[in-house]
Amino acid sequence: MNEKIITYIKDELSIEFIESIDMDEDLLGNGIVDSLGMMKLVVFLENEFQVTINPEDMTVENFNSVRSISTYLSKPQI
């Protein structure tokens, strides 16, 4: 899952070419993804992992890094 997310961010969303993304890197703060990219990421995650992401869950805690995204997705859906 992590690899898929990282590959998608690197290939489709990153504002410019980057070699690697750290699991704990601040995706928004370090400028890897912009706000449009965040919207695209949500659509990607929903399609790729067959989940529904509640807008309420789109928080810094859940989306700040690849690790936080995958932790969030691994939680049982309510």
Binding site: I18, L28, G29, N30, D34, P55, M58, F63
Partner: protein
């Protein structure tokens, strides 16, 4: 006496030494600490040979140390150049070169990008704020903050000295630098504090980065009155659920942002769940607020006063319009009337004042006027409209490029641009700038960039290009090329490759026809 903007924190450091000047999540800095840390940074820059008027870059994501960088550079007598760390490397280098930057103030979070910059910018003399050593001299924040101030003597700063250069999209593929003096920024600080009856009990929500001049409200007017400015980190500004929770938690009293952030909070911020009773003012500006959503938001926050704020970066802000109640119709919200220390004219194409109620270009004379564009004497002259009052004494107005008319209530109403500048998500974009970049690619012979309406609310940048014979590139290649030179908000969302452009009778590219073709998807 207040005559330059470093006086703002010096004054508040005496009046409110222990009060929080700035806050960012769990970090905060008092006025006293901010004043002395700014002195420490200034003393370092002066030791490195900085001379009054030298430009120093601020290359930081939104964090508490931006306040130290801002005031430290100013105290040294330098002018700050806030650079968007999300810009592509090429554009950053153009800016550094254009205004002769020798020192960059940054944070460890930007290490990766700073490394790339230093490899290509041999003219840099030092980097402040990195712990890691690079080829160029670096000094950590810890080292700055442990400096003693025994040998430090503050710089002499006059009110007409250069305080900042703000880069914005230019129409030639080169960004242009708007110069502001201590005088214009101090005037802005006073006017905005006055507009909101700001006092030291206010808590200002700062959602804009330093390279966007909305941030000047929090960085200047806050310290003027001894209020607290809360800096919202990038991740919070982009995730409305977190943003709205933090605004409530921080008891923000004054909100100033682009409409987009307010709309996101309205749609996804779960407003009902939080207590926003502290909010006194909601101020928006930078682009048009769709009336439907504005009305919805006003109904949710009936206790707050809503105000539309308008002004190009060349003079920061100049008009305002207070909404007494939610708009009853979907008619556009007026730009309003000019604030204090400001006057205007509406001119026809011959620079003659229009008759009452007729449309024309808005020109503004104000205390917050820029000095001019850095290194662009001709462009500066072109942007001014001068009335000679007596030989050697002119009244100087700035030509906004905005087409307006005055309604029966004597309020200014916005009609559009007289040139090809557009506003998308609050960003000011010259379409010619993007076309100039596209044409830098040898495989592209012609380019037209247009704004396409996807639906009522979404407008996107699209480009149509003609390729050189035998050129083997596709749309994705063109987008990648744009990303090398343009900030992400200026990169077209879609590229359409055409063999031949539709032309008008006079042989010009028929942009309206192209828009029509793209909107109806008949290409």
């Amino acid at each position: 006496m207040l005559y330059n903007i470093t006086n703002l924190i010096e004054q508040s450091a005496v009046r409110y030494p222990e009060k929080d000047a700035f806050k960012c999540l769990d970090d905060s800095i008092s006025y006293k600490a901010l004043d002395s840390k700014a002195d420490q940074l200034a003393s370092y820059l002066l030791d490195k040979g900085l001379i009054r008027g030298d430009r120093v870059a601020i290359f930081m994501n939104r964090c508490l140390d931006t306040a130290v960088a801002f005031y430290g550079i100013l105290k040294s007598g330098g002018a700050f150049v806030a650079i968007d760390p999300f810009l592509p490397l090429e554009r950053i280098l153009i800016i550094l070169n254009d205004c002769g930057i020798e020192h960059i103030v940054t944070t460890p979070a930007q290490t990766r990008k700073i490394k790339l910059i230093t490899q290509k910018a041999p003219f840099l003399k030092s980097i402040v704020g990195l712990s890691e050593n690079l080829d160029v001299k670096t000094v950590s924040w810890e080292a700055i903050f442990s400096r003693t101030l025994d040998d430090y003597s503050p710089a002499r700063i006059l009110e007409h000295d250069l305080a900042s250069i703000l880069y914005t999209s230019g129409s030639t593929g080169m960004p242009k630098g708007i110069m502001h003096s201590h005088h214009s920024l101090l005037s802005l600080a006073k006017l905005e504090a006055d507009l909101h009856n700001l006092d030291n009990s206010d808590i200002i929500g700062n959602f804009a980065p330093l390279h966007f001049d909305q941030s000047l409200f929090g960085y200047l007017s806050g310290p003027l009155v001894g209020a607290t400015t809360v800096i919202f980190p990038d991740s919070y500004v982009k995730l409305p659920a977190s943003l709205s929770a933090l605004v409530a938690k921080e008891n923000i009293t004054i909100w100033f942002s682009v409409p987009l952030i307010l709309i996101q909070v309205l749609l996804h911020g779960h407003i009902e769940k939080h207590d926003f009773s502290a909010l006194r003012w909601i101020r928006f500006g930078g682009e048009v607020f769709p009336v439907k959503q504005l009305r919805q938001l006003m109904l949710k926050w009936p206790h707050a006063k809503f105000i539309n704020s308008y002004g190009p970066s060349e003079l920061a802000r100049c008009t305002y319009y207070i909404l007494e109640k939610p708009p009853e119709t979907d008619d556009p919200i007026p730009l309003g009337t000019v604030w204090n220390n400001t006057e205007f004219k509406i001119l026809d194409t011959d620079d003659q004042p229009v008759n009452n109620g007729e449309p024309g270009e808005l020109v503004i004379r104000t205390a917050t006027m820029m000095i001019g564009y850095w290194n662009r004497k001709e462009l500066t002259e072109k942007s001014f409209f001068k009335i000679e009052m007596a030989p050697g004494y002119d009244h100087i107005y700035y030509r906004t490029g905005d087409l307006v008319y005055e309604n029966e209530q004597k309020e200014l109403m916005f009609l559009g641009r007289i040139d090809r500048q557009v506003k998308l998500r609050g960003y000011r974009i010259e379409l010619d700038d993007i076309e100039a970049i596209l044409l830098k690619n040898e495989l592209i012979t012609e380019a037209a960039v247009i704004v396409v309406k996807k639906d009522l609310e979404i407008r996107e940048l699209e480009a149509v290009v003609c390729l050189a014979d035998g050129a083997k590139i596709n749309a994705d290649d063109v987008i990648d090329f744009c990303k090398l030179f343009l900030p992400s908000y200026m990169v077209p969302q879609n590229i359409t490759i055409m063999h031949k452009f539709p032309r008008t009778g006079t042989g010009k590219i028929d942009r309206n026809k192209i828009i029509e073709l793209l909107e109806t998807q008949t290409l």
